[in-house]
């Protein structure tokens, strides 16, 4: 470590045949990483909520099998699956699921307690589980890992670059 012109310098090197010195500014770096994680978290949660909605069994004339995704009798559950991303001082948190406590059928005004989304997941004394959250998490887990890891974020790798006056110099 050294000091240069009032800036804090960090030496990275030698790496291969190079000695690289950079002016390290932790604030912007942290902000960029935060923003990157936040963006990827949103992508991961969007994927999960869409997967859960798509996998609900629509059009079944018979009950879903225990352990399967639920049958979507109405679109009440599908309509109420949402996602959100929020920051705490120490963590970036993503969530998907049912966040409202109740909703209303538009056709008859009947109010539905959305706690049934939990009962579908866990089952009750009279109903076997239809673990839609567990199944969804299992399905998207590898993709979450990819999104939150190296090469995530749907970014493409290209070989194009521009470097000051050296544009086009490859």
């Amino acid at each position: 470590m050294a000091w240069h012109g009032g800036g804090k310098l960090q030496q990275f090197g030698p790496m291969g045949s190079m000695n690289v010195w950079v002016d390290f500014k932790p604030g912007p770096v942290i902000a960029v990483i935060d923003a990157t994680i936040h963006s990827r978290m949103e992508q991961a949660m969007k994927l999960a909520s869409e997967t859960a909605k798509e996998n609900m069994q629509q059009g079944l004339s018979f009950p879903s099998r225990p352990g399967d995704m639920p049958r979507a009798d109405s679109e009440m559950l599908i309509r109420n699956i949402e996602y959100k991303v929020f920051d705490s001082p120490t963590e970036i948190v993503g969530a998907f699921g049912v966040f409202k406590e109740q909703d209303t059928y538009p056709e008859n005004g009947k109010v539905v307690d959305l706690i049934y989304a939990l009962y579908l997941e866990t089952g009750t004394a009279r109903m076997d589980p239809r673990p839609w959250l567990t199944l969804t998490v299992a399905e998207v887990w590898d993709q979450w890992q990819q999104i939150l890891g190296c090469g995530g974020g749907g970014m493409e790798v290209t070989s194009t670059f521009a470097l000051g006056g050296r544009e086009g110099f490859i």
Binding site: E121, G153, T158
Partner: protein, 121 residues
């Protein structure tokens, strides 16, 4: 998968399952839990990842520079470089002060995208 019990709506206690995810970024460890989000008493899955501190930021920057070096990118001293590496971090935070013993002929850009450069003013 471990579990503990949390209170959620309707005074219902549910087992909350947890699963740890370790990604290949080297710093990013996340934890998922479901079927309840206890703080908000919601039905859902939650995944959290720690925010980076200065040490992690420095490690990320170091990795980025290492990646640049590994690909033989030549950087002019005095340039301010916006780099997006294969981890996806991008930032205009590097003023390259000096580079010694760089083989200017050995430039390979696969996996590296330099988005913007400019002389620091």
């Amino acid at each position: 998968m471990g579990s503990d019990r949390h209170l959620i709506g309707k005074n219902t206690k549910v087992d909350v399952y947890r699963k740890v995810m370790t990604t290949d970024t080297g710093y990013n460890v996340s934890e998922a839990s479901w079927p309840a989000i206890p703080t908000y008493r919601n039905v859902g899955a939650r995944i959290s990842t720690l925010r980076p501190d200065q040490k992690e930021a420095l490690k990320t920057l170091s990795n980025t520079i290492s990646t640049v070096a590994a690909h033989g990118l030549y950087l002019d001293a005095g340039t301010d470089v916006l780099i997006e590496d294969h981890i996806g971090h991008q930032s205009k935070v590097y003023e390259v002060v000096s580079m010694d013993n760089v083989d200017k002929e050995d430039i390979h850009m696969e996996g590296i995208i330099v988005l913007w450069t400019g002389v620091v003013t």
